[in-house]
């Protein structure tokens, strides 16, 4: 199962927005247009669905409803997310899930996120399996603090949707955190999007699966970082997990290096490959081009396509990017590119294929990168030339 459509109302940068996703999707836009906030809506559903998660914790992690609500929505109190899923091979729609929330409390009363509406429609059964309107159903305040999605007693008819959200993976690996995790042995971090527990996650895999991943990662590393060989997973005397590889130099056998000595680019590449192989669902990638040589970046789109097609890893990848090299690939379609632009009424999102001005450029023989990236330049970027520092 993969994500077909995301509809947001009053969510962060977006007063309202509707985005269709392909199995490989590139989200582009100027800085602060809401690329990360768009995919944060998917992470939000994951945070509700995960073990020890739930609505209150997902909202609290984001600083409360007041931080989630769109500034452009003025007084509208209700935040709404609707998501449609589809089968990853037939692309037939499976579920539609809608959640609307607001905030109660304030003053001397504690603030809580409150469910206003929760609806689940099954396209297979062609019927609603949940239609929850708490105010009409006279649910008390306590009941309204929980989604049915997060409760096993209530989500029996759509539990695979909960499981699907749980498996959404988000990666924005920060090499320094991977190194730190090894030095302090910090394996207790509940959520790991930035690499603090990357080595711990590798350690959790069974030996056979891990070897299979490392074999494939080594094949890619051999080409991208030829001076590193035989990347493997090891544990030190204290049982702490490490990545280890042989660094080839003037000595015949080279020398062993561990992750603290790996370059930022090497660590990011390993993290990227690992998450693509390890995930069995949706992967959300934040700017995978960072720290990587452009010649590697330009090959990422095809590599992702290969993994999705093979069925031996993730099924859908949604990527935020600013990279010309990533998009300068003839195999990328305009349907796969979601463009975000800012306006005084909040950010707007549209598929690149919906804009005639963009289509005309591609139809004239230019690459997708040439067609879409100029659209995402800040409107007054020229003023940068007028800046004075003296």
């Amino acid at each position: 199962m993969i994500i077909k459509k995301l509809v947001l109302s009053n969510w962060k940068n977006f007063r309202s927005c509707e985005v269709d996703f392909q199995d490989r999707c590139f989200v582009i836009g100027p800085n602060a247009a809401g690329k990360s906030n768009l995919i944060d809506a998917l992470r939000f559903l994951r945070d509700i669905s995960k073990e020890a998660g739930g609505l209150q914790s997902a909202v609290r992690e984001r600083g409360g409803i007041s931080r989630i609500r769109s500034l452009s929505a003025r007084k509208e109190p209700v935040v709404s997310i609707t998501i449609e899923t589809m089968d990853d091979t037939s692309h037939k729609p499976i579920w539609s899930y809608q959640l609307s929330i607001s905030q109660t409390g304030g003053g001397i009363n504690p603030l809580f996120a409150t469910v206003e509406k929760e609806v689940v429609y099954s396209f297979e059964l062609e019927k609603y399996v949940l239609q929850r309107f708490p105010t009409k159903n006279s649910e008390d305040d306590e009941m309204r603090r929980y989604t049915f999605l997060e409760q096993v007693n209530s989500n029996r008819d759509f539990r695979d949707l909960q499981q699907f959200f749980r498996e959404v993976e988000y990666l924005n690996l920060i090499p320094q955190l991977v190194r730190e995790s090894a030095s302090v042995g910090n394996l207790l971090i509940k959520e790991d999007h930035f690499g603090r527990n990357f080595l711990g996650n590798v350690a959790k895999l069974n030996e056979r699966t891990r070897s299979s991943y490392f074999k494939r990662i080594n094949e890619a590393l051999k080409i991208a970082v030829p001076q590193l060989e035989e990347l493997k997973f090891v544990k030190d005397e204290d049982g702490k997990p490490h990545l280890e590889a042989r660094y080839i130099h003037w000595r015949a056998k080279g020398s062993k290096q561990q992750e603290v000595q790996f370059s930022d680019g090497t660590l990011r590449l390993i993290g990227l490959l690992f998450v693509l192989f390890n995930s069995k669902g949706v992967v959300l990638l934040e700017e995978p081009e960072i720290n990587l040589n452009p010649s590697i970046v330009s090959r990422i789109p095809e590599f992702i396509s290969m993994i999705i097609r093979s069925g031996k890893g993730c099924k859908q990848v949604i990527i935020t990017t600013h990279s010309y090299d990533l998009l300068n690939n003839d195999g990328v379609s305009l349907d796969e590119v979601v463009v975000l632009n800012t306006s005084t009424e909040g950010s707007i999102a549209y598929k690149a294929s919906e804009r005639e001005t963009i289509k005309a450029v591609v139809d004239s023989g230019f690459s997708i990168a040439e067609a879409v990236l100029p659209v995402t330049k800040p409107a007054n970027i020229e003023n940068f030339d007028e800046l004075r520092v003296d």
Partner: protein, 209 residues
């Protein structure tokens, strides 16, 4: 009317935008092509196709070529779209900037008497045209001969190229504000036939055919 614009660097793109701003304020720029610049000549056949849907305004330097029509014929596959407004600056867009000598002299701190004037030139064709007269490539003449004459030390530091560099480290930071706010194309067009032609092409452009 919406158009795409194409130039080989920030200077040419900024000149296009300034001229549109002055002479065709009814035209809005969709975006600049090619995105990364530097590959303008390779992109020209695609720009020609694009102009069938959206007009394209292009500005390219003549550089070492003798004759603009010959260069256009070499670069553009026939048939050329009528909405493809091709402009060639003789010999470089920087020469157009020198055409407004008073403002140029003041902004760059160079005594006006040292700035080149315009002469009648024969560009490999039957007619003679007025263009700025520099003994070699305008941008190099500017950096090697004119820049050392400046009384503005900051401008000199910004524009003096380091060894191995083609332009000064802050070239665009100095040139682009000049083009946007100081340069007067009405004065400059009197000394440059190629600039005058571009202004006329823009002014007379009726829109997509």
């Amino acid at each position: 009317m919406e158009v795409y614009i194409a130039g080989e660097d920030a200077v040419t793109l900024t000149i296009i935008k300034r001229l549109i701003n002055i002479y065709r304020p009814d035209i809005s720029v969709i975006s600049e092509m090619p995105y990364r610049g530097g590959k303008l000549d390779q992109a020209i056949p695609n720009l020609n196709v694009l102009s069938n849907k959206y007009p394209v305004v292009l500005l390219r330097d003549l550089d070492m070529y003798d004759c603009p029509p010959q260069l256009i014929a070499r670069l553009i596959p026939s048939p050329k779209s009528e909405n493809f407004i091709v402009n060639i600056a003789t010999d470089e867009a920087e020469a157009w900037l020198l055409g407004d000598s008073e403002n140029f002299a003041e902004y760059f701190g160079i005594p006006i008497g040292f700035l080149p004037g315009s002469i009648l030139k024969r560009q490999n064709g039957p007619r003679t045209v007025t263009e700025i007269d520099t003994p070699y490539k305008t941008s190099q003449y500017f950096v090697r001969y004119l820049l050392p004459l400046t009384t503005n030390q900051t401008i000199f530091q910004q524009l003096q190229p380091k060894v191995g560099a083609v332009k000064g480290a802050e070239y665009n930071h100095v040139m682009l504000p000049f083009i946007r706010t100081v340069w007067n194309p009405e004065t400059a067009r009197l000394k440059s036939h190629s600039l005058n032609r571009m202004i006329l092409r823009l002014s007379n452009f009726k829109g997509p055919h």
